[in-house]
């Protein structure tokens, strides 16, 4: 059984992507017998390219992939390079980490509520500083270049990239190298970039690629913050996919193939950027410039990351406030009154989505944790880890744009008669939850001192008893954290939920994004607040359980 675990994991990670890509490609080239497409042709692509503004949409997606990734990575590099090892660093790190669990949609809503012309920032500044008694008629949300959308993505990708960077630092002997470089007279940032960063970057490269793929094909954030005329590629595809005119599915599939092309182009461009920056780094590394006076740049790093963190936290606060707001006129800084009315009204409609969200997340995450444990235990027993190819497999669902294969997957489930079933939805969530659970748990698992297992075996404890009594309890904390990470990922899933659930299994996230079109801040506040609260509660439980269980075990306390 256990022996099959790695195969099963790879099947879950790769099978659906393959099936999905094929089932997307066939209709894209005209083949879809049920809809009358029995021969291959390019007509879907022709129709696709006749769509007004298609090229703009593709360009928006492409630039969003590159700009989002570059900006968030830059902020992370400057911050880590300039501040790692300091007290400020540790404090901010603790603040940023929980942001990983905030779903993209909730963060995007928060940002929208902050920076809209009638948003909180303008309300706080008006009329005293701006002299305005009415919101200015300026285009901030839905701006044609998608800058706000990219901003929303950047504030959410910074915590992700920061955390993967932090987990790569210990393997890179960051502190020693940095100190060595400083002793040679290099500035903090230059020393870090020359001596530590190349090694760190090698380890986090796949995660960076995942950010590119995500940002170039994102749907929910684009719906909430992105431009509409035209929208980026993926949200437009979703519109065609959901159109009652089923003929549009050919175009949607062709668009999905185009989306794949856009994401691949963004990745290839990134490889070129990598080369350029590597050459730049080599140049400065060899010409001996010390960049010792980097205080300003360090400050920029600190300010940017603080700003990004503040935006997300303030966004969450404003969501909470709107959810309990009575009438709130512009430019008042706070509502006239507070009431639980929005909650009371939303409550009946909330229950089903809430239940769906929790059940799907619990099931998908439990399965993911079990498969991850089985794979890692099998790794121990066979003495082999999968190596770098396995890492690629694990990252694969994060590297292929969701729009590229979830369409096909939906058709596949329809064919099986399993569309809009809980089973199908749990399965699709599993594809995206499994990588995150595996990534977050494999490091602590592999860092486990193998001598504990040797001691246990020496005491006559077999493989199974050692797993259940020694390895698992000692790794309970990271296992629960991995569970919480997986849970948060499942809660945040939008596209797979609406496509595979076909609207019949709504979750808090799919409902929240659907509500964005209404722009009713109170209801959105309620849903988005719940959306971020669910993962938060699970993280809290994940932290409390080991704390209670091991309350008298000092060595298992987090320091």
């Amino acid at each position: 059984m256990l022996r099959l675990a790695p195969t099963l994991a790879i099947a879950i990670l790769i099978g659906p992507i393959l099936f999905g890509l094929i089932a997307t490609a066939l209709p894209a080239f005209g083949y879809f017998p049920t809809l009358g497409g029995t021969s291959f042709s390019f007509s879907a692509f022709v129709a696709l390219f006749e769509r007004p503004g298609l090229l703009r949409s593709a360009l928006l997606s492409f630039s969003s992939g590159l700009i989002t990734t570059f900006s968030s990575l830059l902020v992370v590099v400057l911050f880590v390079a300039g501040w790692s090892g300091t007290k400020v660093f540790r404090r901010l790190q603790h603040l940023v980490s929980p942001l990983l669990s905030v779903p993209h949609a909730a963060a995007a809503f928060g940002l929208a509520f902050l920076i809209a012309p009638s948003g909180w920032i303008m309300r706080l500044l008006s009329p005293e500083l701006t002299g305005l008694s009415r919101p200015p008629d300026v285009l901030i949300l839905q701006d044609a270049f998608g800058l706000t959308m990219m901003g929303g993505l950047i504030v959410k990708e910074i915590p992700f990239l920061l955390l993967v960077t932090l987990s790569a630092l210990p393997q890179s002997n960051a502190r020693q190298y940095s100190q060595m470089a400083t002793s040679l007279g290099y500035g903090r940032i230059a020393g870090f970039i020359h001596c530590v960063w190349p090694n760190v970057y090698r380890q986090i490269r796949l995660a960076v690629f995942a950010v590119i793929a995500y940002a170039s094909s994102v749907v929910d954030v684009a719906i909430i913050l992105g431009p509409d005329s035209p929208a980026p590629l993926s949200p437009r595809l979703l519109g065609w996919m959901n159109d009652p005119d089923l003929a549009l599915r050919f175009e949607a599939s062709a668009g999905a193939i185009l989306q794949l092309g856009v994401t691949v182009s963004a990745l290839v461009s990134w490889l070129a950027l990598e080369k350029f920056f590597a050459a730049l780094q080599r140049h400065y590394c060899q010409n001996g410039q010390r960049f010792a006076r980097d205080k300003a740049v360090r400050q920029i790093g600190l300010i940017s990351i603080s700003l990004a963190t503040t935006i997300v936290f303030a966004g969450l606060a404003i969501l909470a406030i709107w959810s309990v707001a009575g009438f709130w006129s512009f430019p008042d800084a706070l509502p006239d009154s507070f009431s639980l009315r929005s909650w009371a009204r939303a409550l009946p409609g909330l229950q089903q989505p809430l239940w769906n969200s929790v059940i799907i997340a619990l099931m998908a995450t439990s399965i993911a944790v079990i498969i991850t444990l089985a794979c890692l235990e099998q790794e121990v027993r066979s003495g082999r880890d999968g190596g770098s190819r396995a890492m690629l497999f694990v990252y694969l669902p994060l590297l292929v744009p969701q729009t590229g294969f979830v369409f096909g997957l939906q058709i596949f489930f329809l064919w099986l008669g399993l569309d809009a079933t809980l089973f199908a939805l749990v399965f699709v969530h599993l594809i995206f939850v499994l990588p995150y659970v595996f990534l977050s748990f494999s490091d602590p698992w592999r860092a486990f001192d193998p001598r504990f297992a040797s001691v246990a075996h020496g005491l006559g404890s077999g493989l199974n008893r050692t797993f259940w009594h020694i390895r698992l309890p000692m790794l309970l904390r990271p296992a629960l954290v991995a569970f919480a990470v997986g849970f948060a990922v499942s809660i945040g899933q939008y596209l797979p939920t609406v496509l595979i659930g076909a609207g019949r299994l709504p979750t808090i996230t799919s409902e929240a994004v659907a509500l964005s079109s209404g722009g009713d801040r109170r209801v959105i506040g309620v849903y988005a607040f719940l959306q971020m609260a669910m993962p938060f509660v699970v993280f809290l439980v994940a932290g409390l359980v080991p704390m209670l269980l091991f309350r008298n075990r000092r060595d298992l306390k987090v320091n």
């Binding site: 001598r451 040797s454 020496g458 005491l459 006559g460 404890s461 008893r465 050692t466 269980l549 075990r553």
Partner: protein, 219 residues
């Protein structure tokens, strides 16, 4: 297959050879009688710990190893680690941090011994023996280095091993306690007539053990 007739009481290593990517690390044949100590000495990197790993059944698959190991006349290499009945002590006491001191010891009591009360009685006796009678419910993290070492030894012995593998078990103890613990370990082992394979780089360990000494070259 075996050249020498199996020796019936104690631990016998016949033509044990370990290499890494074709480079030979260790080649040893030895016999350790009941209550006797074989000390394997070598600098760090000489591969002395891989010998213990081979005997204990947790050798990294990167190494190639061959040779027989007989424990009371039975070849144990084919057995899984947990069936070899070879107790191991490492440099660190490696008490399981999620269990109490008593839990650690109970974990070691063989499953063949049934009955809650009986199992606990064995543990309490061992604690008494180690001079830590009231420590059953203690968090292992709150123990001193010497106390941890003693519990680790008691834990190994409770599992009723038929041989003892020691991997520099005294090196991390402070000098004042080292002698005391060393004597405690050897006395307890001898009292149980256990063959001991001790791996160390400390001459004092070898002297205290008093048995045969095998030097690894270690390039």
């Amino acid at each position: 297959m075996s050249k020498a007739a199996p020796f019936n009481d104690g631990l016998q290593l016949v033509d044990v050879e370990i290499s890494l990517q074709g480079a030979p690390l260790i080649s040893v044949s030895a016999t350790i009688g009941e209550g006797e100590v074989l000390t394997v000495m070598g600098a760090s990197g000489s591969g002395k710990s891989t010998l213990l790993a081979y005997l204990g059944g947790f050798l990294d698959p990167a190494f190639e190893a061959s040779g027989q190991v007989y424990l009371k006349g039975k070849d144990v290499i084919q057995l899984p680690a947990e069936a070899r009945q070879m107790g191991i002590l490492f440099q660190d006491p490696l008490l399981f941090p999620h269990m109490s001191v008593g839990g650690n010891l109970l974990f070691a009591v063989p499953q063949s011994i049934k009955g809650k009360a009986g199992r606990k009685a064995l543990v309490l006796e061992a604690l008494e023996n180690a001079g830590l009678a009231d420590y059953f419910n203690r968090d292992p993290a709150t123990l001193s280095g010497g106390q941890k070492a003693r519990i680790a030894l008691m834990r190994v012995l409770l599992a009723k091993p038929r041989a003892l593998l020691l991997d520099e078990p005294f090196s991390k103890l402070d000098a004042g306690r080292r002698d005391h613990i060393r004597q405690f370990v050897f006395n307890e082992a001898r009292a149980r007539k256990l063959p001991i394979l001790l791996v160390t780089h400390d001459q004092a360990d070898a002297d205290a053990a008093g048995g045969e000494i095998f030097h690894l070259s270690g390039e």
